[in-house]
Symmetry: C2
Subunit: 427 residues, 2 copies
């Protein structure tokens, strides 16, 4: 008998039928002899609908009240889920974030978990009940106010509960049946990975893979929680995310050799800004990125062209989320006289392709394969950035899908048949 | 400076526009120099929608989970209301039933308030904030679970807060601007009452007046809370509900003479069951009403016809809510052999008219006016029941409206002009 934590996202509990399906899945796990703790998100689009209402009554909603509002979404889904399980003849009890002992700091809208004291959950488990916990929400001890954890909060709730309860595994359910070597909608021959390291997952996640949130993967790595990414709609075992020193439940994977490349990630959400004619004197880059940071933009890749000839000027390009571009451009234009650059070029037609693999550390020549695959097909590389286990390139957005398929093949990642693509959005 | 408790029902906060209108009203009260505590219901039909969802996932929802579910409705409305006030430049803080110290017994779905410990509300008031409290919900100390108070719960929340905080007045807002001498939709010449005693209110309420819930009026009477029933949509002062020994805020009303008749109430929600040919031996009535009570029916009026001639049998008629009739009939039919009656007659075309007035106690001839008014118009009275301050008669449902108008005139209650009838449902 194991203790299993399961997390179901909004699309898994979008309506009464989905809730009953999830309830059956939970009951099946209980029937198999396991203790079950479930973290659940708000139903379907509830959170967006509540945000919309908030926007209608207040242009800038008070953060404390916004958290009070949003936290009601999970109360609805968790109570319905507990009822559905109850009506199948199993004892189930739902708990809010504060009842579950999810203690956070006081940062409304993006609270960090500082402690988990699941006293009531343990009592309920000891009494044989299935435990349902509201994802995404917590409680601050000093203000005694309700907080929310922000994006990916329910994944983090699940992993934090798994850590605090010393669970055997934390199953994160979505409408995708695991982590793929690439986005199956872009690369039809993408294969589901049985295992991925948490480092690889962090890079894949940051590069646009939407199955797991970075924050939850980081929490799991730090606290030694084994994550299993699975589909609500199939019985496939999904993908295990292994942290350092972790092993798979059946003892496999210990001697598993790390693959050189685990997957290829694609991202069309970034834009590129080029600052042209920056005076080639020390401190100019710092000036530029201080201005950009102040605009609230989250800069990803940065490339500085060498200063050509005797102009004494260089070009600096960087990528950032498309949604941050307008603010960054405005901020830069405002400080043009001080910085002394010549002009700004905004390009929102780029695509980013990343090759990720923990095995890269010990293998040379990995980047050559990437460049070769792209150059043979005449696809131009505009920017390059690398980390220990990742190589990312910026291309024309129109080239991204073809590039991903070529690179996927070049690294020998192609599966025998095309992957099944699900209709859902993954969240 | 006074401390004012206000309660807004679901129709007053049905959408973003309504919430902003209520927020403005609250801010106006604060601007006038008063401390304000607000109890708010769930938006519009939220509670019914949640109940519908519950019915879809579980035929008989677990009561603990149903309360968890329903309590989310008020969290949404209170957070939105606090945001709206906040964005008008006033400090506002929302509190759940448990945060507000609304301690109840553990009866899910119909919890009774056992204590109110508004520590956090007092702190917030001391800091100059407007306090918004979720109506309808509480918290049980032993189970540490969330409870709901049942029908009319938000009115009760408001009155209980007013009692615990020693508020100067508890303003109950709805879409009706006070208590009327009759339902204006039935009797166009109905007048708004400036003052009504809580005893009269209890009788009017029980007889179908929908402005205030009996339970809240009783709580107010027991704890000396002055209720003012007002409209969200006008600035009319509404109607004060005076408990024993209470006076109006401006000292008026102390020497006010009680009117003989305060109002006329009409009710079309009852049905009549007649048990024909009941053996005229002791204990038969007890048998019948034991069976009816076991079916869950809530019996109102009872009349037993005298046993006629030598048959040794009598007829017993009683009224009950239409919705309870089927169950009561089934229960009686099942026990027909034991009870020994001859047959059952079900009549759901009745109407009930009640004349209510605290002054009846000291005045004779009040019932004569009623019977005279009806007999002149040839309206037949089928049943009669009286209390110290009320006379009720059962008539044909089709006659009810005409009867109400005639009786209203006969008691001199008619106003100079027709009352304004609002479109809303009163709840």
């Amino acid at each position: 008998m194991a203790l299993i934590v399961q997390k179901y996202g909004g699309s898994s509990v979008a309506d009464a039928e989905s809730i009953k399906r999830v309830a059956k899945r939970i009951v099946d796990t209980r029937r198999a002899g396991h203790d079950v703790v479930v973290a659940v998100s708000a139903m379907g689009d509830t959170t967006d609908e509540l945000l919309d209402l908030a926007g209608q009554v207040a242009p800038i909603p008070a953060p404390r009240e916004l958290d009070m509002l949003l936290s009601s979404g999970e109360r609805i889904s968790m109570a319905l889920l507990a009822m559905a399980i109850h009506s199948m003849g199993f004892e189930a009890r739902s708990f809010t974030g504060s009842q579950a002992g999810m203690i956070t700091d006081a940062t409304h809208g993006a609270a960090r978990i500082v402690d988990v004291t699941p006293v009531r959950l343990k009592e309920a488990l000891d009494e044989g009940a299935i435990v349902i916990v509201a994802g995404f929400q917590g409680f601050n001890r000093d203000t005694r106010d309700i907080t929310t954890l922000g994006r990916g909060g329910s994944d983090t709730t699940a992993v934090a509960l798994a850590a605090a309860l010393n669970a055997d595994v934390c199953e994160i359910y979505s409408d995708v049946d695991g982590i793929y070597t690439a986005d199956p909608r872009v690369v039809p021959k993408a294969r589901k990975l049985d295992v991925v390291t948490s480092e690889e997952m962090l890079e894949l996640s940051a590069n646009g893979a939407k199955v797991l949130y970075i924050r939850a993967v980081e929490y799991a790595r730090r606290h030694g929680v084994l994550i299993q990414a699975r589909s609500t709609f199939s019985s496939s075992v999904g993908t295990y995310v292994l942290g350092p020193g972790m092993t798979l439940p059946d003892g496999e994977g210990e001697e598993m050799e790390e693959p050189i490349v685990a997957g290829v990630a694609t991202d069309l959400t970034q834009a590129k800004i080029t600052v042209i004619g920056v005076p080639d004197v020390p401190g100019k880059a710092a000036e530029i990125f201080k201005v950009v940071a102040k605009s609230g933009a989250n800069v990803d890749m940065i490339v500085q062209n060498v200063s050509i000839g005797a102009t004494g000027r260089a070009d600096i390009s960087f990528t950032l989320p498309k949604t941050d571009a307008a603010a960054a451009l405005k901020a830069l234009a405002g400080d043009q006289p001080e910085i002394g650059f010549e002009s700004l070029v905004h390009d929102d037609q780029i695509g980013k392709l990343s090759v990720v693999g923990a095995g890269m550390r010990t293998h040379s020549g990995v980047s050559a394969t990437l460049f070769e695959a792209l150059s043979v097909s005449g696809i131009n590389i505009e920017m390059i950035s690398t980390s220990e286990i990742r190589i990312s390139v910026v291309l024309r957005g129109d080239d991204l899908a073809e590039a991903a398929r070529l690179v996927h093949t070049a690294y020998g990642l192609d599966g025998a048949s095309d992957a099944v693509v699900h209709a859902g959005t993954g969240r």
